[in-house]
Symmetry: C2
Subunit: 359 residues, 2 copies
């Protein structure tokens, strides 16, 4: 059985099998929206996403809630989360973008102080704002309304130790706290003090499904009149190196959103591709696109098909991998330069939001 | 070994033994203040109360923090807590009187909804205000600043499952939440966003010592510069009936702060005394004052010695218990009538504080 530990590895090798075992549904074509993450099957499964599609068709509002634990720098893997959030705004959604600083501190051993989590919160928030999340849509965990915290604590009465251990396999009080906050993050927008009962959407990796299941279960048992929240599941972007996940703790597995041009170039040149061992063999047989990190990056991040088609063509024709890497480096550099040009402004806003004096 | 379960029975029969086992210190005469609860040895033990006495002598401030879980009506047993809190105000203390509505809900099975806890919060708050607690000194758990909640969650990273189980013997996620809130209640006044580092005092029953110990331990390990909090321990007032504790769940064991004159009379007449089986024997030998509930009430609640001395005299002289009961009923009726006359006003204030619209 696939191990689903939200704090563990995020490599799920057999998606079809995982669907079956966890009871999530494969995303059928009639539930796909006009976005490259849908079209390219990067968003691949759901729970109750049809409720959201119905709201969109009826031009009615729905809640979208996503969040990032403030425990490290953001890389390309996080970017699709944010891109998707920004994409859904056009459908008249009520937006809650969680900057989860308390969660980041209490659930991660490596984060040694709340101060450290808050520094990541500033950075992550600056990036989210630069990528198009609105300041008013930020749900900063350490600066919420009393009702939010009350609700998080309230939830603890509805979860038993056994339930928690059955889902997560272990019990650690910091992680219990982080989970209560996460359940509250997803469910609180439906309280009468916020938007009221409404379909809600959260996009996560399949490895986060234990959270989703428990959150959905809670929504039914709480005694509030809540819509069971919907979830979209996306494939995780893999790491740049062979058999690695994209992880902030291994610098060369990831392109960070604040990587410099030379860093991007260096990492892409070092990245794993489907190229053959010799140039001669490559020329004769072509490369293997399906395992190529360069191609994967374009599929995940380049909405236009031009670059990925070009890379596919080059690969099939047996061009040296360096040619494709140049295409990718060029694309990433332009994209991230544009993004980074906004950071100076958004970082100031973020600092104010996280470190303001109000207690 | 005495069982110390903060949610269980509060009857501790052998105080001297308990002192030894739990490492609390007996209150020596040089640490006693001019209040009948000190003079009559109802406050009988402490941890670091000398730090508070030192501050009082130096005319410096200290924090005092006490709290009541919103899980039932207040009775005489709660009143001494509040009386003591009001007494300490004259020493220039920084006051935090906790109305613990979230705690009341999450830690008690019998409280079925947060709404129910909040109704008790209104009632308890109304009584506290009527007894002389200032509105500005109320620390209402569901209406605190984000920093307070953040701090409560923060604490979860410093407690392990094993620590919790070792102290409490069981682990229940609602009670974990309640405890995090209680630790935060006691420690947050020392954060820089509140009063800053300062000796702090909390008065509790000896059965609450597991909380005290873990809170003191936390204060040392948190990484903040905090004074280890001081505690005073008082004897619990026993129930009106034989071998019963004073408990809101058994109506006739307790005089509630809102009991009517006829209720008071009925309960006192029914209460257990040290009277002999026959009036004849009583006349010959006198009663046993040391087990008499009527005498206990006067010792706990009547600051003047007149009534208790009178009862002692009557008892020794072999007067019928009815005479002493009349003295007690008379005292209680007057005291509570005066108290209850303020409730109409304070209840309105309390309702506004608990149920205001701000989220």
């Amino acid at each position: 059985m696939e191990k689903l530990d939200p704090w563990g590895s995020n490599t799920i090798t057999n998606y079809e099998k995982a669907f079956e075992e966890f009871g999530v549904q494969k995303l059928s074509n009639n539930l796909k929206l006009d976005h490259h993450l849908f079209k390219r099957n990067i968003i691949l499964a759901h729970r109750d996403f049809d409720k959201i599609i119905k709201r969109i068709k009826e031009k009615k509002s729905f809640i979208q809630m996503t969040g990032i634990a403030s425990s490290g720098k953001l890389h390309l893997g996080h970017k699709i989360d944010i891109d998707l959030f920004v994409f859904f705004k056009k459908y008249n959604s009520k937006n809650y973008f969680g900057i989860c600083d308390i969660d980041g501190y209490v659930s991660r051993d490596k984060i040694k102080s709340l101060e450290e989590a808050k520094k990541y919160a500033v950075e992550n928030l600056a990036h989210a704002l630069a990528l198009g999340v609105d300041k008013k849509d930020i749900s900063l965990q350490s600066k919420k309304e009393p009702r939010y915290y009350e609700f998080a604590f309230e939830l603890s009465k509805k979860i038993t130790k056994n339930m928690f251990e059955a889902v997560y396999g272990h019990l650690n009080l910091g992680k219990v706290s982080a989970n209560l906050l996460q359940y509250a993050d997803i469910l609180h927008p439906q309280l009468k003090e916020y938007e009221g009962k409404m379909p809600s959407l959260t996009s996560i990796g399949l490895d986060q499904d234990p959270h989703a299941k428990l959150t959905r279960d809670l929504s039914r048992r709480l005694g509030y009149n809540l819509e069971v929240p919907s979830f979209l599941y996306f494939k995780h972007q893999s790491g740049l190196l062979k058999d690695k996940k994209m992880s902030a703790s291994e610098q060369d597995t990831a392109i960070f959103l604040d990587d410099s041009e030379s860093e991007i170039k260096r990492k892409i040149n070092k990245s794993f591709t489907g190229g053959k061992d010799t140039l001669k063999e490559q020329k004769e047989k072509g490369g293997n696109l399906s395992i190529c990190k360069v191609y994967e990056i374009l599929m995940f991040h380049d909405p236009s098909d031009a670059n990925s088609k070009k890379v596919a063509r080059l690969c099939k024709a047996g061009a040296p991998c360096k040619d494709c890497k140049d295409v990718c480096t060029d694309f990433l550099t332009k994209m991230l330069k544009k993004h980074q040009s906004k950071l100076k402004t958004t970082r100031k806003i973020a600092e104010k939001m996280v470190f303001n004096r109000k207690i």
